[in-house]
Each structure stands twice: as C-alpha cells, then as structure tokens.
Symmetry: C2
Subunit: 257 residues, 2 copies
Amino acid sequence: MSQHRHPGASGHTGAVPALPDLPEATVARLPEYLRALHNLAETGHDTVSSEALATAAGVNSAKLRKDLSHLGSYGTRGVGYDVALLIDQIEYVLGLTQRRAVALVGVGNLGHALAGYAGFVSRGFRIAALFDADESRVGEEINGLVVRHIDDLATIAAQEAIAIGVIATPAPAAQSVADRLVAVGVTSILNFAPCVLSVPDGVDVRKVDLAIELQILSFHEHRKASLTGIPASGPAAGLTALPGGLAATGTQEAVGS
Amino acid sequence: MSQHRHPGASGHTGAVPALPDLPEATVARLPEYLRALHNLAETGHDTVSSEALATAAGVNSAKLRKDLSHLGSYGTRGVGYDVALLIDQIEYVLGLTQRRAVALVGVGNLGHALAGYAGFVSRGFRIAALFDADESRVGEEINGLVVRHIDDLATIAAQEAIAIGVIATPAPAAQSVADRLVAVGVTSILNFAPCVLSVPDGVDVRKVDLAIELQILSFHEHRKASLTGIPASGPAAGLTALPGGLAATGTQEAVGS
C-alpha cells in the first residue's frame, strides 16, 4: 500500500518520534481535512478520492495532495485515501490522541460562549478550568465548572496539567494574563483579546480577532463595489472623490479606534 | 512627500476608483496595522518608523514595508510614516469610511457574545439586526436590538442595507442560512459554524472555527514535546510506539468527530 505513517513514527518503542516541521498553512488545513474525513467515516465511506476530500474541505485537490504528502500519505491510484488511516495520521500529527486540558481566562459574554462551546469537547479538548479576576464572577458555575480566581492559576494549572490557555479578557488585561499563563508553564495560548501579546520564544500564540475578520470582509465588499462601479452607499460615499486623499475627514465616528 | 494615496483614488470626482487586488495575506494584516496606528495616534504620535509599527503589529518590518507599498505608501526616509495619513489610507482601502451594517443569525451563547462585542462597533461596523429560527428566542432584546425571525430576513435586509452576514448557528443550519443571506443580496459572510459553505462566485466567506485554532495549537504542543524528547503525558502516550501506526486505537473517546 502506498499510504505510510509519518516518517518518524515507525516503531521506536518508548521514544517520542520527532514530528515534521510542517508549513504553517498546511497545519492550518489539517483540521479541515480531519473534519471532512470524520463526516465521511460517519456516512460509511472507507476510501475517498483526493478530489472529493478537497471539495469537502473547501481547498483545491493539488494543494490537498501536497499537504498530505508532508505526512507521507499519497493515497492509492484508482482507490484514493483510506479514510480511517488518514484520520489516524492527522490526529497523530495534530497531537489529538490525548485530550488536552484548556484553561479559559475571562468569563464575560465571550468567555461564557467559549465555556459552552461543544466543538471543543468533540474535537479533542477539555475545558478544565475557568478563571476571572472579578470577585463577583468567582464561584459562578458554568457548564459544571466553577469559576476560580486568577490568583489560583498556578495551583490549578498544576493539578489539571493545563496545556493550552485561552484568553477572553478585555485587551488591557490580556498581557498580564499571558504572563501569568507563561509563568505556570503554559506554552500555547489562544488570544481573543484585540491586542498583540509579547511572549518568550517557545510559546505559541494564535489570535482570533472577530473585528479583523469583518474588516477583511469589508475590503472585499469595498473592492466588489469598486469593480462594478456601483457607488458606495452611505454618508461617506462622496469622500472617495476628495483630492488629497483625506477620505476619513468627517467620518471619524464611523471608524473609531 | 513620499506618501501617496493608493493609485486609483486621485480625484476622479464622482467615480468609485478601482481598488488594487491586494494579496489576501496583506489584506489580513492591514487591520493589525490599523489597530496599532490608532493606538499610536491616541498616545500622541504623529509619525512612526516601519520598525516600530511592525513591532506594534507583531510582524517583521520588511513584510510591513512590502504590504504598505501595495497601497502606495513608502514613508519618508528618516521620518517614517505619517500616522494620520496612513490610518486614512488603510481605512479607505478596507472600506471602513462607511459603517457597514451586519446581520447576525443565531443568538445562542456565541451569538449573544457576538451581539455584545464592543470591538465591532469601535472598528467600523454596526450590528443592525439579529435573527433566529427558534420562536422562543424571537422577541428577546439583546443590547437594544430585538431578535427577529429568520423569515423576516428579506424585509429587514433591505431596510437596513445589510452588507455582511454573520452565521452563529449550529452547523446543520448554516448552509440554509447562507443560502437565505445570498438570496437577499448579502455578498460577504462570516461563518462561525463548523462546516464548509457553498456559495456562488462573487460571495466571500470567511470562517472562524474555534476548535480549529485549538487544533493548530495542539500541533505545536505536540511538536514541542517531540523536539524536547519529553514523552507525552496521559493515557495515549505509549501509543506513539505502536508499529503499523494505528495510534488512535483505544483513544477514540479523546478525538470524537
């Protein structure tokens, strides 16, 4: 068969094999393939062509084949990929064969939503602890977990073997929370606060900024309008014509900071 | 001065100038620069070097200069970039000189958090309407907006000139919501449901999948463990040594679908 496990995993008993240093874009697509593969497995598919898997994951098939070749997976001509084997390979590479414990800091609206997000549990994670600095929130129970004070972080991080910290605080508190997470040994942080965090080498931070996603969409809306020649609607529409380019004059209320 | 507005914007009165088709990665970084620039402006800075701006935005300075050169902004040697001018240029390109109306569909936990997310308002967007298909939620007021039934989408989308749709429903409902948004003329969709949406050409979809972000971090945790040779902790640790590669055997509870 032409599917292989990733190069480092073949039978060195007791050792942790080195993982390939995959391109970041490939790493980002592996979860998409994984989700599509789980859907295929649940609907009774044993094999899948690269074209069908690429369509299900929303990428082009050449990119998918390249990504999977990094894992040593090439499929079988005329048959495609073995669904169960490819699930195992991707879950192994993503480190999902153990359920990682997540600490969530900040239980405002967003923190509440994250604490109740079923997708974390179903895809390899366990929200193990909730923290807040607001005494009025400490003690509240959300989805069976009691909110603890952030001062208890060190104790609980050790008890629960916290692997990943999720920051859902307001921006001004985020850096100090990141520092405290790093101090207790957390080396992966998912940051929902709209700010750039400084962390030491060896700590990975991923940022989710919901307004940035909207701003990127706004670019595409703006560009589509410019291509079709339909003037932008709204009070600022005429400002695109101002010479000298100070299009934001008089529109500060629309953009803020 | 060596800063210019983007090429298409110079004084064609009444026309909407064509925007440059920027690389997607550049578009994704512009909001980061914009946030850093607003912070600089608020703290009294009139100019900023490419190095200082790059640090504030968390990118390297060569990449920043390249990105801004796409907008026709090159800074001034020895002085740097004019903060106010660069804010105007980026806001113009991102289409933030008008406040875009957003419709949010699905007011569960995540929808509630999104409806109350101050970052949308402060950065150029207005949540103009909330929708749900659940009759028990219709009529609820969230942040001053009353939740409407999804069947009212067409009427309200026209009234409010909805530009962007945000889908915060469970996955099984997302495609049908996307179809309805497209049918009423929405051409930009931000999708929080964990699924791939099919949309016609000309409709832009951005997806935010919170579990995927964690899975990407999990890869880095796994890789760091493999590099330091520290065996993974937890019940699945020994499975990396199994020949034949079925590392997930017996760990299905940890990964689910």
